[in-house]
Symmetry: none
DNA sequence: AATGAATGAGCCTTCATTCAT
DNA sequence: TATGAATGAAGGCTCATTCAT
């Protein structure tokens, strides 16, 4: 086997572990996960996991990073074609609604793990990780609203305010959904209210 | 000493422990606190604390409960005198702003501990605890907005929607503040925007 | 139980552990001993030992310290009565001979443990510990030879040189004895040679 | 490649490993060395080294053996030419002095590794290894002193006694040097004293 | 009621050696 | 021969909770 092939194998194994770990973190959150659980899930040995990741933290960070990239790519793709703002917004909110309802019903999601990690890790590097996440969401919402501004659905100087409002609403809903407190009607009400702001303008 | 006096002593001791534990949890969160810290802070023995609380979890739950009651009392008191809605709302938002800025700067608060606890405890009883917290906030906001409705500052059927919106904004800001992502300008913008809704009506 | 009684109990327990640990270190040396062995020997629990000693190193240091004190006291006592130098020297060398033969035959002794510790620990504190040991031996030998000088068996300015010579001989024999290379005849030859130096003078 | 050439290659590789491992053990002692360090230093693979040596212990034993042979060869060479005893003795002691001072200052040497190994390994084979070392030193010193006897500098029946004395002094100094307790003046005093014995005879 | 010593489960990490390729 | 991924035993440490006094 050549070096290239070997490192290919290594990379593949690493990704396999990341994939399995993503499952585990999604189902169990961050704080309830220890190396043992990952080891069991991966069918790897106690020592084996350390060949790829030095700690649960390092593993988790890579899980988050690899996922962020994918998420970001998806959204950017959608907005490229300059579709109708009303439709995109509705789609976007609908996606979030689905996601939030899933969360409420205890559907596995990395979100819980991410919050657990954020709350309990405060090094500079950790904060940058969280910041990156928040910035990614903010950027997405702003791109979306910029599209709206381009299509004359809102004033440009409103973009930032509205982006933040939506971001905070979603953040709040995330938390309520994770603690099982969010009902469909609440999501609908808030999202309708948010969408109505654009109708009022026109 | 009579039985009554004894149980009075017992109650007093219990409350003293709760008070001290509240300090500890506020400063250190939930996950960083171990029995040793609480024992040291309370000047009680390792075994002694179990005479009052069956476990760390039970102790924490009582800390949260006792605080909720106090918070709820305070607000109810303020609203009793039917003060001017605009002023009460402004005060309320200003209080939250102060609190959020404190959180951002790492000022002690039970909120981090509460989140840490919620994320790591998922029994039915634990969920009810969080529910109670959310309901208390919701109830407070609704009481406040009901005052506004009474004073003709908003329609009665808007109360629930707006209460939820504010609650979600605050919840979202809590999370951002705790993970170090919230800036004063963001708080201002969102609260101003929220207040403006009442101006528009009149 | 009063505080004094409690700490008496604690001290007694600590000393019991030290005593057992001394046995273990004597039989197994330092490097082959881990907490588990001490735990097994003491009939204490895994966590229990940490109530008294933070690590094997700390435990070992206390073993050595407590023993040094005892050794030093013994020697000082003997020399107080100003006995006949020739006899004391002969006794001293005979004691060492017995000890060395014991070592050769694998009789338990802390010496092996002490060497193992010294070779593998080089912090300032560790060096001071070893220094203390060496100084104690040197001081003993010098006291003995000073007695000889007082009794006109050797010149005062020879004390240091001879003390060092004896110390180094003994150190060398220790090592050979520990690795099973020292025979009785060798000890006899060297000690006789050492004693002969005093006969020559007179 | 013929079988002979192959095994030549094999032998060369083995010696290359031994040479590198000697460096590593000299710098780090025995207990601080793990396979990883040797592997890194040799540029060989984790599994590869086991094609040449069955275990770390075996590798170390061969390191010691190969060095002994070399040492022994050197000395034997020097004595072949029947040089002047006084000079050879002085040279020999000067060499040891240099070596001991180097040890005191932490200069790399296999000696520490050898002691660490000896103290932690007590099989019959291990003891024989140490025995061989001691015997080699003894033989060297005896050869040297025999030269002196031939040149009339000491009586033949004194050779064994003096050889042992010197061996023990050196062994003692080794230990003190390794634990950082030996000073130059001590070496000088003892070696001068040792040399003076020959002056007295003549 | 109160103490604090004792327990033991739980988690982490390292490393010599093996084994499939 | 050569590789390096994988193994798993071994040891370390912490801490909530129990229990004898």
């Amino acid at each position: 086997m050549t070096t290239a092939e070997l490192s290919k194998t290594r990379q593949a194994k690493k990704e396999a572990i990341l994939k399995t770990a993503t499952q585990v973190f999604s189902e169990e959150g961050f704080l309830n996960v220890n190396m043992q659980r990952i080891i069991n899930a991966c069918g790897i040995s106690r020592g084996g996991i350390y060949l790829y990741f030095q700690s649960v933290d390092e593993l988790f960070i890579e899980v988050i990073r690899s996922r962020s990239v994918r998420q970001f790519d998806l959204i950017r793709q959608e907005l490229k074609d300059k579709p109708d703002f009303d439709k995109v917004l509705t789609d976007y909110l609908t996606d979030h609604k689905k996601r939030l309802l899933g969360l409420s019903q205890g559907k596995p999601s990395l979100l819980r793990a991410m919050y657990e990690y954020s709350f309990t890790h405060n090094t500079e590097a950790d904060r940058r990780l969280k910041q990156k996440q928040v910035n990614a969401t903010r950027a997405t919402v702003q791109s979306l609203l910029n599209l709206g501004a381009e299509q004359g659905k809102l004033a440009s100087d409103q973009v930032r305010l509205l982006a933040e409002e939506l971001m905070l609403l979603i953040e709040g809903m995330n938390v309520l959904a994770l603690t099982g407190e969010l009902q469909e009607i609440q999501i609908d009400r808030q999202f309708q209210q948010f969408e109505r702001q654009f109708d009022l303008i026109n």
